[in-house]
C-alpha cells in the first residue's frame, strides 16, 4: 500500500483533472499541472534509476532542467525517447515512462556489482585499463563496455513524428519568463516593441510558482498569471511556452519548441517539435540561477534533494517528498526553504548551517526546528532511501538524526551558459560567490538571478529596466516603469566547497558519477586546468552539462592546486544548452526529402516506358530503360546503344545547364572565358567550347550556339551548371563590368532531347514537316536554329555526343512531355528507342569524348587532347597559369584509349596503369583508367585513361593493376576513338 505524499490542499495543480500514468509498468495517479517527477513523488516513488558508472540508487534531485538523476525513457516503441528528465516532463493522461540503466528494476539492479569495482573505476580508468592483450579490445572489451555503457537506449525504429522549422523576427527576445523576464517583456511590450518571450516550462512564472511572496498585493503566482494575461493582449508580443533557447549564434538565436510532447500523439499534421531561428535586435537573458548542491560524504542517496526543489514541490505541486525533512545549508536561502516547507505543513527535523553566524531574522524562518550553526553533515545512511544523517558540530561532536529527506543549499549559480556561446567568459565574483558574465553577445543584457540579482525586488526592477533599455535601443522611448511592491528576502551565502567526514564517496557530478576524490586524483596526475579536469574526469560532460556540478568541481580543483576560483576559471558552454533532437535540426529534410528533387518534363513518360532513374545532382535522370523480359542493366544498355547506332534513339538532356548570354559585347565576353573563339561564330552555328579555371585546369565544357548577333545560348554539364553561372557572373561583375553583357539561366525554360542515330533526320522530318528544313544542305553539322510551330517556339541544334548523325531539339518545358511522346510516335516506324545516361556514356566513351571522369579538376586541356583549341590570339581565364612548366610537361598523363589484350576481360575505373615490367605499387603508377564501357560495336570492354606520355605509347602493352577489386590484366594502348574514327556519320 503506497503512501500519498500529496498535500491535502494547495499547489498550482488542477485537482479537478486527475490523470493516470504508468512508470515501470505500474499505474499511478496525478493531476494536470504535475510533472512526471512531482507525480512520482506524490506517490512516494523517489528511487527512479541507477547511476551511470556505479549503478548506485538515485532519486529525484531537483524540480527543473538541471536534473542529473531522474532520467527516464518516455513513451514506448518507435516514439520512445531516452534520457528525458522526469522533472520537465509535463504529465498527460496515458503517459508511459520507464527507468534506465538498471536491470531488472531501480530497486534491484544486477549491475550494482559495479560498485565493488569502485576503486578500479575512478577517473580516467579507461586510459589505464583494457589495454592488454591488444587483441581483446575489439573482440571482448569494447563489446562488453558498449553493453554496460550509456544511460537510455534508442528504439532502433524509424521516428514516426515530423519536425518543423520556423523563423521569427523581433526587437527583443526575452529568455525566461520568471519575474525578471516577465517584467522585461511588460516594459518593452508596453512601449510598443516586438517582443518574443521564450519559456522552457509549460507555465510562465519561474520562481514565482514556488514562492509564497506577495507582489503588488497578490500572490506571486497570481502576479505571473496577470502578467501573462496582459502580455496576451499586446499584439506585438508573442509568447512561446515549452520553448528552450539552446544557442546564441551570430545575429540569431536557436530555440526548440516542444509542440506535442505533452500530448499522447501529435495532432494530425502537427509536428512533434519545432526548431526556431529567431533574429532579435536585443535580448534579455532572464534564465534565473541554479542552486548548488553540497559535497559531503554520502551525498547521493535517494531523498537528498536541492532545498529549493523541496519548496517548489510543496508550493507548486502540493507535494512533500518525505516524512521528516532536514536542511543542510551554507546560505540564507536554505532557511527560506525550511520556512516554506513548514508553512505547507511539513515537519523540519533539523537545520544545519555551516556558517557560524546567521542573522536572527533568517534563523526565525526555521520556527521551532532544532538548529546547528558551524556544523555540517559528515555522513549518511540508507541504501534505497535516506534513513539517517550524521551531523558534526563546531566542537567536533557527532550526532545522528533520523530523516528520510535532506534539502541541500550551497548557494546559487547564475544560468549564464547561453551568454558565453560567442566566446565570452564568466568571471568569478567573490562578493556574490558566483560566476558572472560581463562579456556578453551584442545586444544582450542579463537580468534577475542570471545577473546575480538574487532578490525578488531586484529581479522585477532590473528586468523592467532591461526591457525598457531594449525598447529604447530600437527607437522607442525610454519610459519610467511603475514600481512594484515585493518582498526583499535575505540572500547571504558563505560557500564551503567540500566537507570531510566518513570515508564514503562525496559526489560532485551525480550523473557521471564523479567524486571529490576523482577531482583530487586529476590534479595529482597533472590535469590541473579546468578544461583538463572536465575531459579527464568527465565532470560536466553528461546530458546535464554539469549544471549542478561545474562550479563545485572547479572550486574543489582550485583548492587542490592552491589557486583562487577566479584564477582557475570555468569551462566554456557551447550550443546546444539543452539536448536537441537531431530530427528537429533536419525538419522536413530527411529521407527522400533530404534535398529538393528536380524532375524533367519527360519523367512520367520515361517511368511509364520502364526507366530506372539515377540521381545527377538534384535531378533524376533515366539511367536505362527496362524492356519487357530484361532484368540485367548491361543487357538494356547494350540494346539501347545498338539501337542508336543502327536506327535512332531519344535521350532527355534537359538537365544540362543552359545559359542565355546577350548584349553588344557578348562575343568578347565569351572569348575571355573560353579557350577558343566565339566572337567569330556565325549566327546559326554551334561550337564546342572548353572553359578553364584561373589556375589553368579545365573547369567545364559544353556547346554554345549563336541564335542572333547578340544572343548566344551556352550549355554546361549538369553538375557544374551552378558553378559556371557563378563564374560567369564573377567575370562580368567583378572583372569586366565595362562589358555590355547580360546573362540568365534558362535550364528550366527548355526541355531538350537528343535525337541520335542514322535515322534521326528521317524522324525529325516526320515530326516537323515543313516547319524546319533539316536536309544536310540546309542544316549541316553544327547548325542551330529557332522557329515556331504554331505559337510554340522550338530550337534545334545539330550536335552529337554519340558520334552518330544527331540533333538536340528543345521546346518550352510545359510542352516537354508532349514533345517526348511526339518524338516516340514520329519514330515508331523507324524503330525509335529511348535511351538513358548509361547508353549515353557508352557511346561517348566509344568516341573518346571527355566527360566528368576526365574533367576531374586535375587535368589541363592539353592532357585531354584539346590543346589545339587553345587560342594564341587572345587572353582568357586560365591562359597564363596553363602555360606553367609542369602543365606543359610532355610526360604528363594524357588521354588514351585502352583495350584488354584478352578480349574477354572487364576493365574497371580507377585501376592504376604501369609499364609492363614495373612492380605495381600505389604511389609509382603511370596513370589510371578514367572511364570504362562494354562496347557493343567491338564486342568487348573498352576504356579511356590518363597515361604518362600517352600520345607516344599507342600500340604498347601495359598493365592495369586494381588491388581493391583484385584485378590485374594487360591492356593495349590505342587511339581513344573506337567507333567511326573518320567521323563520317556525324556529317551525313
Amino acid at each position: 500500500m503506497s503512501i500519498s505524499r500529496r498535500l491535502a490542499s494547495g499547489g498550482l495543480i488542477d485537482r479537478s483533472k486527475p490523470i493516470n500514468f504508468t512508470f515501470d509498468g505500474k499505474t499511478y495517479g496525478g493531476y494536470a499541472g504535475d510533472t512526471l517527477a512531482s507525480a512520482l513523488l506524490a506517490n512516494d516513488t523517489m528511487l527512479v534509476g541507477r547511476s551511470f558508472k556505479y549503478h548506485r540508487p538515485r532519486g529525484i534531485f531537483s524540480a527543473g532542467p538541471e536534473e542529473p538523476n531522474a532520467l527516464v525513457t518516455l513513451r514506448t516503441g518507435a516514439r520512445g525517447e531516452p534520457n528525458t528528465k522526469a522533472t520537465t516532463v509535463e504529465l498527460f493522461d496515458g503517459l508511459v515512462a520507464s527507468s534506465q540503466n538498471c536491470w531488472p528494476s531501480p530497486n534491484f539492479d544486477l549491475r550494482a556489482v559495479h560498485q565493488l569495482a569502485g576503486p578500479l573505476l575512478n577517473a580516467g580508468f579507461y586510459y589505464k585499463t583494457f589495454m592488454w592483450p591488444a587483441a581483446f579490445w575489439e573482440k571482448f572489451y569494447e563489446p562488453a563496455i558498449r553493453r554496460s555503457a550509456g544511460l537510455g537506449a534508442l528504439s532502433g525504429l524509424d521516428d514516426p513524428d515530423t519536425y518543423e522549422r520556423s523563423h521569427a523576427f523581433c526587437d527583443l527576445l526575452v529568455i525566461g519568463a520568471g519575474p525578471a523576464g516577465l517584467a522585461a517583456a511588460l516594459a518593452a511590450g508596453r512601449a510598443g516593441a516586438r517582443v518574443i518571450v521564450a519559456e522552457e516550462d509549460f507555465v510562465l512564472g519561474g520562481r514565482l510558482l514556488s514562492d509564497s511572496a506577495q507582489i503588488d498585493g497578490v500572490s506571486a503566482a497570481s502576479w505571473a498569471a496577470l502578467a501573462e494575461a496582459e502580455l496576451g493582449t499586446l499584439p506585438n508580443v508573442r509568447i512561446l511556452k515549452r520553448t528552450a533557447v539552446f544557442g546564441v549564434y551570430d545575429g540569431e538565436y536557436g530555440a526548440i519548441e516542444r509542440v506535442s510532447d505533452h500530448l499522447s500523439v501529435p495532432p494530425p499534421f502537427a509536428p512533434r517539435q519545432r526548431l526556431w531561428k529567431i533574429v532579435a535586435q536585443q535580448c534579455v537573458l532572464a534564465a534565473g540561477a541554479q542552486e548548488r548542491p553540497l559535497v559531503f560524504p554520502g551525498n547521493d542517496r535517494p531523498g537528498i534533494m536541492l532545498a529549493s526543489a523541496l519548496r517548489t514541490y510543496a508550493n507548486r505541486f502540493g507535494v512533500t517528498p518525505g516524512q521528516r525533512i532536514a536542511i543542510f545549508t551554507t546560505s540564507d536561502d536554505g532557511w527560506r526553504s525550511a520556512f516554506e516547507l513548514q508553512k505547507a505543513g511539513a515537519e523540519i527535523a533539523v537545520v544545519v548551517d555551516a556558517r557560524t553566524e546567521v542573522a536572527p531574522d533568517v534563523r526565525k524562518l526555521a520556527g521551532n526546528a532544532p538548529q546547528f550553526l558551524g556544523a555540517h553533515v559528515s555522513d549518511t545512511s540508507g541504501y534505497r532511501r535516506l534513513t539517517n544523517i550524521t551531523i558534526t558540530d563546531s566542537a567536533g561532536q557527532t550526532r545522528s538524526v533520523a530523516v528520510d529527506t535532506l534539502g541541500v543549499s550551497g548557494g546559487w549559480s547564475p544560468s549564464i551558459g547561453i551568454a558565453t556561446h560567442l566566446g565570452g567568459k564568466g568571471s568569478w565574483s567573490e562578493e556574490k560567490s558566483a560566476f558572472l558574465c560581463n562579456d556578453l553577445p551584442p545586444g544582450m543584457q542579463l537580468a534577475g538571478a542570471a545577473a546575480a540579482q538574487w532578490t525578488l525586488t531586484q529581479a522585477l526592477e532590473n528586468g523592467a529596466l532591461a526591457g525598457a533599455k531594449a525598447a529604447s535601443h530600437v527607437g522607442l522611448g525610454l519610459q519610467a516603469q511603475k514600481p512594484i511592491l515585493a518582498g526583499d528576502e535575505a540572500s547571504g551565502n558563505n560557500p564551503v566547497w567540500l566537507f570531510k567526514g566518513s570515508r564514503r564517496k562525496a559526489f560532485v557530478d551525480l550523473q557521471n558519477d564523479v567524486t571529490a576524490t576523482d577531482v583530487a586524483l586529476a590534479a595529482q596526475e597533472g590535469f590541473r586546468s579546468v578544461e583538463q579536469l572536465k575531459r579527464y574526469t568527465t565532470l560536466g560532460m553528461a546530458t546535464d552539462q554539469g549544471k549542478t556540478s561545474n562550479v563545485n568541481g572547479l572550486a574543489i580543483l582550485a583548492g587542490e592546486i592552491k589557486k583562487t576560483i577566479a584564477e582557475t576559471g570555468a569551462t566554456r558552454a557551447r550550443p546546444p544548452y539543452v539536448p536537441v533532437a537531431i530530427g528537429a535540426f533536419a525538419g522536413l529534410h530527411s529521407g527522400k526529402h533530404f534535398k529538393p528533387t528536380r524532375l524533367t518534363a519527360s519523367h512520367a513518360a520515361s517511368a511509364a516506358a520502364g526507366a530506372t532513374f539515377v540521381e545527377a545532382g538534384q535531378w533524376m535522370r533515366a539511367q536505362w530503360f527496362n524492356a519487357p523480359g530484361e532484368n540485367d542493366w548491361l543487357q538494356s544498355v547494350t540494346r539501347e546503344v545498338k539501337a542508336v547506332r543502327s536506327s535512332v534513339g531519344i535521350c532527355d538532356v534537359s538537365t544540362l545547364g543552359k545559359i542565355a548570354l546577350c548584349g553588344s559585347d557578348v562575343g568578347t565576353f565569351l572569348d575571355r572565358v573560353y579557350i577558343n573563339t566565339f566572337s567569330t561564330l556565325p549566327v546559326g552555328k554551334v561550337r564546342y567550347g572548353v572553359m578553364l579555371r584561373e589556375d589553368g585546369f579545365v573547369m567545364d565544357d559544353g556547346t554554345t550556339g549563336r541564335l542572333s548577333a547578340d544572343h548566344y545560348v551556352m550549355t554546361t554539364t549538369t553538375v557544374n551548371a551552378g558553378k559556371v553561372m557563378q563564374h560567369l557572373e564573377y567575370c562580368h561583375q567583378v572583372l569586366w563590368p565595362e562589358l555590355d553583357v547580360q546573362m540568365v539561366s534558362v535550364t528550366e525554360q527548355w526541355a531538350q532531347y537528343a535525337v541520335a542515330g542514322p535515322k534521326s533526320r528521317a524522324l525529325l522530318q516526320a515530326l516537323l514537316g515543313g516547319a524546319c528544313d533539316v536536309s544536310n544542305e540546309a542544316f549541316p553539322y553544327l547548325a542551330c536554329a529557332e522557329f515556331h510551330v504554331g505559337n510554340i517556339p522550338l530550337r534545334l541544334f545539330r550536335v552529337s555526343f554519340s558520334g552518330e548523325l544527331a540533333y538536340e531539339i528543345a521546346a518550352p518545358a510545359g510542352y516537354g512531355e508532349a514533345l517526348f511522346n511526339a518524338l516516340m510516335q514520329a519514330g515508331k516506324a523507324l524503330g525509335v528507342t529511348p535511351y538513358g545516361t548509361e547508353a549515353l556514356s557508352v557511346m561517348r566513351i566509344e568516341k573518346g569524348h571527355v566527360a566528368g571522369s576526365e574533367l576531374n579538376g586535375q587535368t589541363v586541356a592539353r592532357d585531354l587532347g584539346l590543346g589545339r583549341m587553345m587560342s594564341v590570339k587572345k587572353d582568357y581565364i586560365g591562359r597564363t597559369m596553363a602555360a606553367r612548366e609542369a602543365l606543359i610537361d610532355p610526360d604528363r598523363p594524357t588521354l588514351v584509349g585502352l583495350r584488354p589484350v584478352d578480349r574477354s576481360q572487364r576493365l574497371r575505373n580507377g585501376a592504376l596503369l604501369f609499364a609492363r615490367g614495373m612492380t605495381p605499387a600505389p604511389d609509382n603508377n603511370a596513370g589510371f583508367i578514367t572511364s570504362t564501357a562494354f562496347s557493343p560495336g567491338n564486342n568487348h570492354w573498352i576504356g579511356l585513361g590518363l597515361l604518362a606520355c600517352g600520345l607516344e605509347r599507342h600500340g604498347e602493352i601495359i598493365r592495369a593493376w586494381d588491388p581493391v577489386r583484385s584485378g590485374d590484366l594487360e591492356l593495349e594502348v590505342v587511339d581513344p576513338v573506337f567507333v567511326d574514327a573518320e567521323g563520317a556519320r556525324l556529317r551525313a
Binding site: P268, V744, A813
Partner: protein, 193 residues
C-alpha cells in the same frame, strides 16, 4: 502539323488538412520574361517602360504594375516581367519593344506561379522563409528573391490581406508542393479553383 499539349507546372496542387488557413491557386497562361538592362541604358529603359506600359520601373526589390502586367525588381538592373493577358508570343514582342535598351529572355515555362492568401499564410511561409514578412518589414509591393527549403523562390506581396505571388522553378514543383502541404496542412490548405 505538330500539335503539343501544355502541362501546367502545378498540375498536382491539392488541398490538405482541415480549415482554410492557406488558399492557393496556380496562375496559368502567364507570359514570363527576364529583362536585363543593357549597359548605360537604365534611364532610357525606365522611360520606355513608362511610355509603353505606363509602369514605373522599380529600382529595388519591389513590384510595379498589376496582374495584367508587372515588373518585379529581382536584382540590380534585372526584372521578372509577367503578363497575364494571354497575348501569343508576348515575350518576342516585348524584346522588340525594348530592343537595344534591354536583353529579354523567355522564362514562361521556367517557373510555376502560385497565388497564395489566407489568414495563416505568413505563419506558414515563416516555416520556410528566413525573411521578416511582416507588414512593416515587407509592405505590400515588396519583392524578395530567396529560398524555401533549399529551393529558389521569388515572392511578391501584392496586398496586406496578405496576398503573395510566388514563382518556383518548374522542375522543383513537386518538392515545393511537398513543403507547402507539410507546412500548411495543420492550418488547412485549400486549392481555390
Amino acid at each position: 502539323m505538330l500539335d503539343l499539349a501544355h502541362i501546367p507546372a502545378f498540375a498536382n496542387l491539392r488541398s490538405m488538412g482541415d480549415g482554410r488557413g492557406v488558399i492557393a491557386r496556380e496562375r496559368r497562361g502567364i507570359a514570363v520574361a527576364t529583362v536585363m538592362a543593357r549597359k548605360g541604358q537604365s534611364a532610357a529603359l525606365a522611360a520606355a517602360v513608362k511610355e509603353q506600359f505606363d509602369i514605373n520601373l522599380p529600382l529595388g526589390p519591389h513590384g510595379s504594375g498589376s496582374d495584367a502586367m508587372s515588373f518585379l525588381g529581382t536584382g540590380p538592373g534585372r526584372w521578372l516581367v509577367t503578363h497575364d493577358a494571354g497575348t501569343p508570343r508576348f515575350v518576342d514582342s516585348l524584346a522588340q519593344q525594348l530592343d537595344s535598351l534591354a536583353s529579354v529572355v523567355e522564362q514562361s515555362d521556367g517557373v510555376g506561379l502560385l497565388r497564395l492568401s489566407g489568414p495563416a499564410l505568413l505563419e506558414v511561409l515563416a516555416k520556410g522563409v528566413a525573411i521578416d514578412l511582416s507588414a512593416t518589414a515587407f509592405p505590400a509591393g515588396s519583392v524578395a528573391v530567396t529560398q524555401i527549403a533549399h529551393m529558389g523562390v521569388t515572392l511578391w506581396k501584392v496586398d496586406e490581406a496578405p496576398t503573395i505571388h510566388i514563382a518556383v522553378a518548374r522542375s522543383m514543383a513537386g518538392s515545393f508542393l511537398h513543403w507547402l502541404e507539410a507546412s500548411a496542412a495543420v492550418a488547412g490548405l485549400v486549392v481555390d479553383s
